[in-house]
Amino acid sequence: MGRVHDVSRLRRRAALALLAAAVLCVWGAQALHRRVMADRLLSVFPDRVPGDAALAKFARDQAAPLYREYCSSCHGDNLKGDRARGIPDLTDRDWLYGSGEVSDIERVVLYGIRSGVGKGWNLANMPAYAQHVPYRRFAIESLTPGDIEDTVEYLRAIEGRSADKEAAARGEKIFQGRGACFDCHGADARGDTAIGAPNLADDLWLYGDGSRQSVFESIARGHQGSCPAWFRRIPAWKARALAVYVYDASHPPRGPG
């Protein structure tokens, strides 16, 4: 009887050992696969990752929890941002900085916007024209409430919305002259993605709803939204995975036809 017990105990132990070995093998294989894929993710030029189905899937899978941990508190679970707080919608194709390629997004993830990190996007702030010193880095004249109202009319006019023509004509002089708005937003008001100056001629709004009051307040009080730099907390391959994830959100796969 004793021998039979010993044999069955031995068998159980052997089975447990085999199970443990199998679990270890699976875990090791997964870890190895992750390491290999992470290296591949970094080896491929970032903008080409979305074109590689396996890599893109790996990036998406890895990035979803990262997005929840690092980004969703501002950009929201649906990546739609919050216009009341000037947090950009990551699902549209309106990019403030760069052209929305994975490499551009990755740079924001790593080094941030107005994060103070030298490699980040630290230019430029929207001046607060209702202050004595609208902008600390550059001498710009303050504007009167009437000046700001005229500028708002000019912006409405170039967007093709209803506007007071005389006020818009005065506003154009301010935009192209002493307001120095052209310096960042361009003479055509279409913005400049090299310094994060939004396009003012489209109907997408980073802050507010585009109403007269909302645009007035943006000009009067200025803006300087920021995005943290994560390069000290997120390893390079995870930053790239996050960048691919955000890229995917703004480039949904096209349906058949």
């Binding site: 970094l42 970032p46 903008d47 707080r85 103070g116 409430p145 730099a229 994560w230």
Partner: protein, 288 residues
């Protein structure tokens, strides 16, 4: 040759080879180099990485075009320039530029100061922390306040007669026009208005004393005469919209900026205290 001699020769040769290999490894950068460039890097310069993301950003910044449109020549030019920079930075450290060059030192000080407040700029404070800060500094969050005020100045009358400020104030209250004031009292309007002004601009234009009087005037009110160094002033308020307190939601962006600045200032002070605390600073007797 005896077998003992052969053994000795081989032993000596082996030792020499070992020393040579160790020497190359110890005294040359190439000796300690790995030949594998990590996937996140564009190059290694004496084992210091040039990050691929930096390289891509540099190419795009240099040629103002997406990286994908850059040519092989452009990429090579940028990589060469980055390698050149890295080599010279390394050489600069060997030459102790941080110890001797004022520009390098200034850049280092700025970078370390920035590093000290990096957490404050990166961390997103909780809404509760922001609301608490707002509650503590509520008075700083208000709309700008605008006013449209007319400022009439009376010079001394004929033969240095005292200007009739009270008469001007009464006439203004009765609805006199600037032209009538000019004829009857020789009063002239200063800075004919270009429209409403923000409070800060009105304060600059009127001066502190007149502004304090002006901002208390309701729409349509006329001030008492105010004697200043340049004559007697009478103000007529056309429209006064005083600052209105802003709610937290409306002022949140400004609160966030102020909160981060306050935290940065605290961190900077703490960093400085720590550095001074652990430093051994000795000052010449003549300067103590």
């Amino acid at each position: 040759m005896k077998s003992d001699d052969v053994s000795l020769v081989l032993l000596g040769a082996g030792a020499l080879l070992g020393i040579a290999v160790a020497g190359v490894g110890l005294f040359t950068a190439k000796g300690t180099a790995t030949h594998h460039v990590p996937p996140e890097d564009a190059a290694l310069v004496n084992q210091r990485p040039i990050l691929m993301s930096d390289f891509v950003a540099q190419v795009e910044g240099t040629y103002a075009e997406p990286y994908a449109r850059s040519t092989a020549e452009q990429r090579k030019a940028v990589l060469d320039a980055m390698i050149h920079e890295e080599l010279y930075v390394q050489r600069g450290l060997e030459l102790d530029f941080p110890g001797t060059d004022p520009d390098t030192r200034a850049a280092l000080v700025a970078a370390v100061e920035q590093q000290a407040v990096a957490d404050a700029t990166t961390e997103l404070p909780s809404e509760q922390a922001l609301e608490a800060y707002y509650a503590e500094h509520r008075s700083e969050y208000a709309t700008e306040g605008t006013l449209l005020v007319r400022d009439f100045l009376l010079d001394a009358g004929p033969g240095n007669a005292l200007p009739d400020g009270a008469g001007v104030a009464a006439a203004l209250r009765a609805g006199a026009t600037p032209e009538q004031l000019a004829l009857r009292f020789r009063a002239r309007e200063l800075r004919p208005s270009r429209g409403e002004d923000f409070y800060f601009a009105a304060k600059i234009q009127l001066g502190d004393r007149l502004f304090e009087i002006a901002k208390a005037l309701p729409d349509g009110a006329v001030s008492e005469p105010v004697t200043l160094a340049d004559g007697v002033h009478v103000l007529r308020m056309a429209k006064n919209s005083p600052p209105v307190p802003r709610g937290f939601a409306d002022a949140r962006e400004q609160v966030l900026g102020d909160y981060k600045r306050a935290v940065s200032a605290r961190l900077r002070a703490a960093d400085e205290k720590y550095l001074y605390g652990k430093a051994d600073i000795q000052i010449a007797a003549s300067l103590q």
